[in-house]
């Protein structure tokens, strides 16, 4: 029992959980009842959910030792793909969603394949994809419709059910996207901690040569991770297209950085091999609380980015400390 208790402080996500509680207390004090109310709670959870979904995929990928800077652009691709497929070939909503998922998985596959084949840093490869995909999304939207913002998804067959699944707010202002977020996080946590794939992800990020030496298919694991992060981004794009009944070619910009920040705040190492999905959940939660909370506290929203950068730096220092302790002993 005491061994477990001592081990707790070397868990990567614990600092993020403690940080989330502290920030809640701070904001509950500064912003008052507006923050503590059900409506306030719903507003920061709703804000955290899309980022939280992205962070699940990015966390797994970063634990596997890679970056994906293209997830924000994939959010844009995903929403625009749903809109274009329901307007140009005039498909109904569900086939458009299915095709969009396939497109995004293909993008993730190509990201991964490029990284494992060229051995280039994924930072560079996906930085390139960030721009390529964003440019293609804008060009495709303009090319087909002469606009970069499309609406009217609610007039398409199948929308009502899609709204229930992706865009509704069934209880007390809490959006269904929160359930997607927590569901994705639960599945990813289970995969990471309880399945052979999780073991391979940790190994591939920690010491790829050692993993290869015992027969782990490093390239396959990495490609799978890029497909997973693309799938998470795809889901966010679909959720937003359904909720806003349309798409904007610029949707998702900067989200790749926010996702990395949430993951790092959650205790995952930038160098890979160490981290958790639960930590990233807390990272996204902190992001949502701060973003909504400082507005409720009457602080100018411009300060949000200052807070975000500051928390990132702090998190990196805490992570380094936790790592040293974990290596010293359990």
């Amino acid at each position: 029992m005491s061994r477990r208790a001592a081990g707790i402080f070397t868990r990567p996500e614990v600092a993020a959980a403690v940080g989330a509680v502290l920030i809640w207390v701070l904001l509950a004090g500064a912003a008052g009842p507006a923050f503590r109310s059900m409506a306030g709670t719903a507003s920061y959870l709703n804000a955290a959910a899309p980022l939280g979904i992205l962070a699940v995929g990015v966390a797994l990928l970063m634990i596997g030792g890679e970056f994906d800077l293209s997830v924000g652009s994939i959010v844009g691709v995903s929403g625009m793909s749903v809109m274009l497929l329901t307007t140009e070939p005039a498909w109904s909503v569900w086939p458009a969603i299915a095709a969009t998922v396939v497109i995004c998985l293909l993008i993730g596959f190509l990201n991964g394949l490029t990284v494992v084949r060229t051995q280039l840093p994924s930072f560079i490869v996906t930085l390139a994809t960030l721009f390529i995909l964003r440019g293609l999304t804008i060009a495709a939207a303009r090319g087909f419709t002469r606009r970069t913002q499309l609406g009217g998804l609610d007039d398409v067959a199948g929308y009502e059910f899609a709204r229930v699944v992706f865009g509704s707010a069934p209880v007390a202002g809490l959006r269904v996207s929160i359930a997607w977020w927590l569901g994705c996080a639960a599945v990813a946590t289970w995969v990471l901690l309880r399945t052979p794939w999780g073991n391979w992800i940790l190994a591939v990020g920690g010491q790829p040569e050692a993993a290869r030496n015992v027969g782990v298919r490093v390239a396959r694991v990495k490609v799978g991770l890029f497909m997973t992060s693309a799938l998470c981004a795809c889901l966010v794009g679909i959720i937003q297209a359904v909720r806003f009944t349309g798409a904007d070619a610029l949707r998702g910009q900067l989200q790749e950085f926010y996702a990395i920040i949430a993951v790092v705040i959650g205790g995952t190492l930038l160098t890979g091999g160490y981290g958790t999905v639960i930590g990233a959940v807390f990272g996204a939660l902190i992001f949502g609380m701060v973003r909504q909370g400082i507005v409720m506290a009457g602080i100018d929203a411009d300060w949000f980015q200052v807070f975000l950068g500051g928390m990132l730096l702090l998190a990196v220092f805490v992570n380094r400390y936790v790592l040293v302790r974990a290596q010293r002993a359990s």
Binding site: R3, G7, W190, R194, T195, P196, G198, N199, W200, L202, A203, G206, Q207, E209, A210, A211, N213, V214, G215, V216, L269, G273, Y274, L323, A326, Q327, R328, A329, S330
Partner: protein, 248 residues
């Protein structure tokens, strides 16, 4: 031990050239079950090259490898591993930030449940890791502790225990004591002996005669890619082994 028995893994008249560099010239080595075959030589003598040929990293320019007397040509260390030839690499054996049990079962995780609910049998992993290490005389405080918190000697022990657990018939250790202090080296030498006593054919690579001599049954000394001695322990006192190494 049983010198007349068929060698389990053998390199026969192997030569290796890298461009103009002759790394090995007509080298033979035979590893027998239950024996520690020591491969000695100074830096650059060709020890690692020979090992890499045995496990399929390189194809030899000339010569052949035999497993249980049958010619084999592995295309990768993975193929060699699947035939029971396990290699423990000096620094690349373990993932430091992963727990001991995760490392132990990496790539061969025992699972329970089926389909999408197939999951690692964590309790079994913990128990078996603890038991296998205890069998090598290492009391693990906690199978969940990260490998990075183990000493260098303990890490080698985990790697050796893992190879034995997964039924290695041949165990190749490339300079497992090179980065270790005296006491840690002694522990690792014990583990090397343990592996052979369990019937494994061990190939122990080192450039330290004083590490090789206490545990070795047979010594092959390389110098600049050629075999300069291939002797059983009885025929080669440690002074002579050291002198051979020094090139006298």
């Amino acid at each position: 031990m049983n010198g007349a028995a068929l060698p389990r893994l053998e390199a026969r008249d192997v030569s290796m050239r890298f461009g103009g560099v002759v790394a090995l010239e007509d080298v033979s080595l035979a590893a027998r079950a239950g024996e520690v075959t020591c491969l000695l030589g100074d830096n650059g003598a060709g020890k690692s090259t020979l090992i890499k040929i045995l496990v399929g990293v390189h194809a030899p320019t000339r010569g052949a490898c035999l497993l249980d007397g049958e010619p084999v040509r592995f295309r990768s260390p993975m193929e060699a591993l699947s035939r029971g030839i396990a290699t423990v690499y000096q620094d690349l054996a373990m993932v430091p930030l992963m727990s001991v049990w995760r490392n132990f079962f990496l790539g061969a995780e025992p699972t329970s449940g089926r389909g999408p609910l197939r999951r690692i049998d964590v309790e079994r992993c913990r128990e078996e890791t603890r038991a296998e290490l205890a069998a090598m005389g290492i009391e693990l405080r906690d199978p969940d502790q990260v490998v990075g918190s183990l000493s260098g000697g303990e890490r080698q022990a985990v790697a050796i225990a893992r190879a034995l657990h997964f039924g290695a018939r041949v165990l190749i250790l490339d300079e497992p004591t090179a980065a270790l202090g005296v006491r840690q080296s002694e522990r690792v030498l014990q583990h090397v002996r343990t592996a052979a006593d369990r019937g494994v054919a061990v190939i122990f690579v080192t450039h330290t005669p004083h590490h090789a001599h206490p545990v070795g049954d047979h010594f092959v000394v390389l110098r600049r890619g050629r075999v300069v001695a291939d002797e059983p322990r009885e025929a080669l006192p440690v002074e002579e082994l050291a002198a051979l190494m020094a090139g006298e």
